[in-house]
């Protein structure tokens, strides 16, 4: 494999991007589409005090849930932690701060960060204290809206089916989910992929995430967890 853009690298080499106290955004939805090799690498590096941003906290042994289970996160911004009871326990004992965002609004906050917009108006959860607390409001055309702010992270990790040498990505089925959004929102974006293909192998019409947004590509060692339904 050639490497004309210098983006193709190894797990070992990208580990220098991860450090204590960092903000880390991850792709995936209920563990599906979360990058197993990167998560294992972060786990093994032993970094702590992470602020995690992603759809949900996975399951205790699936996806980002592993980092939560090992108490590596000080805060998580997510729409749901129900599938990971450890997250709930840590929240109740004050070991984990949780900021809940409605799922579609969270996706838009990540996208807004990814496309360089600072905030947007939302009418979701206006009357719900957990959603609306401390959020500024704006009155427009006779209606009140919450100001929902964009989310970015120092590093974003995503899982894709294929990458070419420029980091152009395609995803596999519903493992796409939040990955294309997260891929745009990282100051540095690292893609873990099932297959790395030569430049020109991907149909330009089929590419979902342009390599413009991707800084590093590493090969996946494959999913290393048993699914909840297994």
């Amino acid at each position: 494999m050639k490497n004309p853009f210098g983006k193709i690298t190894t797990l070992e080499a990208v580990m220098e991007q991860f450090h204590d106290g960092m903000t880390l955004m991850f792709g995936g939805f209920g563990g599906v589409g979360s990058p197993p090799t990167l998560i294992e690498g972060i786990l093994n590096k032993g970094i702590v005090d992470i602020t995690l941003i992603g759809n949900d906290t996975g399951f205790p042994h699936i996806g980002i849930g592993k980092l939560v289970r090992e108490e590596r996160a000080k805060k998580v911004i997510a729409s749901h932690i129900g599938s990971n009871p450890i997250a709930g326990q840590l929240m109740h004992t004050g070991k984990l701060e949780v900021e809940f965002s409605p799922q579609g609004i969270l996706a838009e906050r990540i996208r807004a960060g990814g496309v360089g917009l600072a905030a947007f108006f939302s009418d979701i959860g206006m009357d719900n204290e957990l959603v609306s607390k401390n959020k500024p409001r704006f009155h427009l055309d006779g209606k009140d809206y919450l100001i929902e702010t964009a989310l970015t992270a120092e590093v974003a990790i995503v899982y894709a089916k294929k990458a070419d040498e420029y980091g152009n990505l395609i995803y596999d089925k519903s493992a796409r989910n939040t990955n294309p959004l997260v891929a745009m929102a990282g100051d540095i974006t690292i893609a873990e992929v099932e297959e790395i293909v030569p430049l020109g192998s991907l149909d330009p019409d089929e590419i979902i995430t342009p390599g413009v947004f991707v800084d590093f590509v590493i090969p996946s060692k494959g999913v290393n967890w048993k699914w909840a339904w297994e």
Binding site: F29, G30, G31, V32, G33, N55, D56, F59, I62, A78, S79, H80, I81, G82, S83, G88, M91, V98, F100, P102, Q103, G104, I105, A107, E108, I110, R111, D123, I124, G125, D127, N128, E129, L130, V131, Y171, D172, K173, S174, A175, R176, N177, T178, N179, P180, L181, I208, V223, W227, A228, W229, E230
Partner: protein, 221 residues
């Protein structure tokens, strides 16, 4: 909750009646997931999942699961013809734009004015709202399918919800194992009874006043 399969199927069957050809439908977990079993074969429906699937089909056979093809709960599904994938932002764009015709979901409580409380039990279970708020607020029609009473025998249809709301005034139709209610401007209207349950049974087990349709449809078990 130990609710018999015949009750669950009866409720799912009734919910399926609401689905017309060509509709986009989002199903919650539990009883709503039984709804597709009760659709006529010729009805073309696109089942929508928050994680970015339009056109979900039934669960795969054991051994045929694809770890990258799952519903919003993380469980394996299949696709129907004409299905497509999108990212989660577009998936919720469909909901907020009013392109999801029906959402069928369970609930902890529903009030007589259609308030929905289905996401939180303070001090006990705070799992996060997931996509429930968007669906409740923005789906064109919100159908709640739930047991008439909780596991302690308390009514789940109430004057005013005691649990934190998912969304106020969003529910259009309530289907329980006893009866079907429309949410109207004037409160609840009982339109159907699942016999042998009687109106008296329903009144006894319901935590609020409701009106009764002039022509109550009786649906036998």
């Amino acid at each position: 909750m130990g609710m018999g399969v015949e009750f669950r199927n009866q409720m799912a069957k009734r919910a399926a009646e609401e689905i017309q050809n060509g509709m986009v439908v989002n199903l919650g977990i539990g009883i709503p997931s039984l709804v597709p079993n009760h659709l006529a074969k010729e009805t073309m429906v696109m089942f929508h999942a928050e994680n970015g699937i339009t056109g979900m089909g039934p669960s795969p056979a054991i051994g045929d699961e694809d770890e990258n093809l799952c519903n919003a709960g993380g469980f394996p599904v299949t696709l129907t013809s004409g299905a497509s994938y999108c990212d989660s932002a577009i998936s919720f764009g469909m909901i907020r734009r009013g392109r999801v015709d029906i959402t069928i979901l369970g609930s902890l409580e529903v009030s007589q004015s259609g308030d929905l409380a289905n996401w939180i039990v303070p001090g006990k279970k705070v799992p996060g709202m997931g996509g429930a708020m968007e669906l409740a607020q923005k789906a064109k029609k919100v159908i709640v399918v739930m047991n008439h009473s909780d596991k302690y025998g308390n009514p789940k249809i109430v004057t005013s919800c005691t649990l934190p709301l998912t969304s106020a005034g969003c529910v259009d139709l309530i289907i329980t194992e006893l009866a079907v209610f429309m949410v109207t401007e004037e409160g609840l209207l009982l339109t159907e009874l699942f016999t042998p349950y009687s109106l008296e049974n329903v009144i006894e087990k319901t935590g609020c006043e409701f009106k009764v349709s002039e022509n109550v449809r009786e649906i036998p078990y």
